[in-house]
Each structure stands twice: as structure tokens, then as C-alpha cells.
């Protein structure tokens, strides 16, 4: 498993060159935006249950066949497995966001996930849709672009310092896209 710092080191080692000069710029920005990153991770972990349950519910609402007899979220035992998987995916994304590198997500979550889902008969299209809903919820919470209109009764604004966190929103979004790309 690597983080933003060890990733730089591993690629420098491949060239047997020390890390210096321009390589340090991205690491300095990681350090500078450190608190923002921790707030972003906190936004995901604090709302994990809400993000996951909303995503799975949304996925089912869009395709109610899933909870009819023969559907992949029927009976509750299989929907529970679905909720569990949503939480696992979100957890590895939160690790990747904390580390600033996707290797933990790739190695421990996505490696072989598609093959497993195909073997178990899980519809990857629906799974990808649930991840996409998680993406829009999580990025809205990190960027504080969620609104009472879109959140409804579950609307919640994270109480963090105001500022520009578009880079972190984009980075978090890229990890969700990575999951979608890996399973579809």
C-alpha cells in the first residue's frame, strides 16, 4: 500500500534519483491542504450510513425489479449484502482519499471485484449505479454543494471552514469513477 509520499518515492527509486525540486510541489500542496483533506474524509465517514443507504435505495427505486421475487435485492438477506458491499466500497474510498493515492483501493477492494460479482451473478450495472449515487452524495458533502432541496429530511451541512476545495472534490470523484470503471 502506498500514499502520496511513498508513491513519489517508488517512482523516484525506479530512476535511482533523489526526490527534490519539482517533485516536491505536489507533496507540498498535500501538506498545505492537509486539514481540508481530513475534513473531506470526515465528511464521508460521518455520513457513511446515509450515503450508502441512500445510494442503495436510489438504485432500487430506479429499478424496482431488484426487490421483486427473483431480483438481486430479494429477499432482505441479499439486500443486506448489497448494503454491506456499498459500505465496504465507501470505506476503501475513504482510505484512498486519506492517503491521497488509489493503491489501497486497487489492491484491497477492486482487484478481482468484477470477476467476483460476475461469478455471484450480481448485476454490475446496478452496482455501478449505486456507486455513482454515492459519488454525487459524497462530493456534495465534501464541497458543501448539497442543498435542502436535494437532501430532503436528511439534509445536513458539514460545519467546516469555508474555502475552495474543488481539487479534493475532483480527487474524491476520481476514486468513485475508478470503482465504476473497475466493475463495469
Amino acid at each position: 500500500m502506498l500514499d502520496a509520499f511513498s508513491r513519489t518515492v517508488v517512482s523516484a527509486d525506479a530512476k535511482t534519483a533523489p526526490v527534490g525540486g519539482s517533485d516536491l510541489a505536489s507533496l507540498r500542496s498535500y501538506v498545505q491542504d492537509g486539514n481540508k483533506r481530513l475534513d473531506a474524509v470526515n465528511a464521508i465517514t460521518s455520513n457513511a450510513y446515509c450515503i450508502v443507504s441512500d445510494a442503495v435505495t436510489g438504485m432500487i427505486c430506479e429499478n424496482t425489479g431488484l426487490i421483486q421475487a427473483g431480483g438481486n435485492c430479494y429477499p432482505t438477506r441479499r439486500m443486506a449484502a448489497c448494503l454491506r458491499d456499498g459500505e465496504i466500497v465507501l470505506r476503501y474510498i475513504s482510505y484512498a482519499l486519506l492517503a491521497g493515492d488509489a493503491s489501497v483501493l486497487d489492491d484491497r477492494c477492486l482487484n478481482g471485484l468484477k470477476e467476483t460479482y460476475i461469478a455471484l451473478g450480481v448485476p454490475t450495472q446496478s452496482a455501478a449505479r449505486a456507486v455513482a449515487i454515492m459519488k454525487s452524495a459524497a462530493t456534495a458533502l465534501i464541497g458543501q454543494t448539497n442543498s435542502p432541496a436535494s437532501g430532503g429530511a436528511k439534509y445536513r451541512k458539514m460545519e467546516t471552514t469555508q474555502g475552495d476545495c474543488s481539487a479534493l472534490v475532483a480527487e474524491a470523484g476520481s476514486y468513485f469513477d475508478r470503482v465504476i470503471g473497475a466493475i463495469s
Binding site: 500500500m1 502506498l2 500514499d3 509520499f5 511513498s6 513519489t8 518515492v9 517508488v10 523516484a12 527509486d13 535511482t16 534519483a17 533523489p18 526526490v19 527534490g20 525540486g21 516536491l24 507533496l27 507540498r28 498535500y30 501538506v31 492537509g34 486539514n35 481530513l38 474524509v41 470526515n42 464521508i44 465517514t45 457513511a48 470505506r91 475513504s94 482510505y95 486519506l98 492517503a99 491521497g100 489501497v104 484491497r108
Partner: protein, 164 residues
């Protein structure tokens, strides 16, 4: 690669939980010290060749017998390899300063070093002398800020202790 973040994530993953408030605080502590580490890494990278040369010279000055026939540095090729190895150690220290942990030195420098040096009949004293010279030669604020120097020296000491 062992670092604060990967340690925290490994522990959280083993327990199957999201990063907790404790984990975030641990990472925050690491980030707070990062500025000094990155400064030390930058200065070391910029002067790596000079530092390596001075360290190698110091070692051959103290152990002049190494250049005699039959010893570890009896030809220019062997001497060059000694300087190359010192450069490797300093480069790994540069990596440790970036990562904020001893992972790179442990994995790429120290693991197996004892066996290799014994097989090749190389004296580790010479390496210790070179790294000790580097440690004592470095000074603040000429080379880097005091806090950065402190980080740099702690990894030098780590390498020295591992070779001792």
C-alpha cells in the same frame, strides 16, 4: 511502504472500520512535521553529489589502508562502487524524509545488508565513518533549518545504528 498514513489505514482496515477521529489526528500530526522533512529532503537532493563525495573522502582518509592491494578499495572501480553505495544510502535517507518514516531504508537499504557485506568481505566500519562524518558535518542554518537538520540527522543515526 510503512508510513504514518499506511499504518493508520492498515489498522483501520484490519478492524473493518472507517478512519476514526484518532486516525485523522495521527495523520494531522504527521502533516504538521512535514514542512521540515520536505525542506531537508529538498536540500539533501540538491547537494547529494557533494555530500556523497565528502562522506566518501572522509572514509578513505580515516581508513587509508582500504586502498592497499587486497583490501576493499584496491582499485578505482571498487572505490567508485563505495561512493555509489554511499549515494544510495543518502538517497534512501532522502526517501525516508519524504515518506516520514524509515520504510525506504528498512526495505531497500537495511534488509539483507549484513549478509551481503559479509559475503563480499566489506567493512561496515567504513560506511559508519562516512555517515557519521556527514552527520557531524551538517550544521544549521548553513545547510538547512534546525528542525529540518534534526529530521535529517535522526535518519542518519538510524542508518548508522543499523550498520553498527
Amino acid at each position: 511502504m510503512k508510513s504514518v498514513v499506511t499504518t493508520v489505514v492498515t489498522a483501520a482496515d484490519a478492524a473493518g472500520r472507517f478512519p476514526s477521529q484518532n486516525d485523522l489526528e495521527a495523520v494531522q500530526g504527521n502533516i504538521q512535521r512535514a514542512a521540515a522533512r520536505l525542506e531537508a529532503a529538498e536540500k539533501l537532493a540538491a547537494g547529494l553529489d557533494n555530500v556523497t563525495r565528502e562522506a566518501g573522502d572522509a572514509c578513505f582518509n580515516k581508513y587509508a589502508y582500504l586502498r592497499q592491494p587486497g583490501e576493499a578499495g584496491d582499485s578505482q572501480v571498487k572505490v567508485d562502487k563505495c561512493y555509489r553505495d554511499l549515494g544510495h544510502y543518502l538517497r534512501l535517507i532522502n526517501y525516508c524524509l519524504i515518506v516520514g518514516g524509515t520504510g525506504p531504508l528498512d526495505e531497500w537499504g537495511i534488509a539483507g545488508a549484513r549478509e551481503v557485506y559479509r559475503t563480499l568481505g566489506l567493512p561496515t566500519n567504513a560506511y559508519i565513518e562516512a555517515l557519521t562524518y556527514t552527520r557531524d558535518r551538517a550544521c544549521a542554518p548553513r545547510d538547512m533549518s534546525p528542525q529540518a537538520l534534526n529530521e535529517f540527522k535522526s535518519y542518519l543515526d538510524y542508518a548508522i545504528n543499523a550498520l553498527s
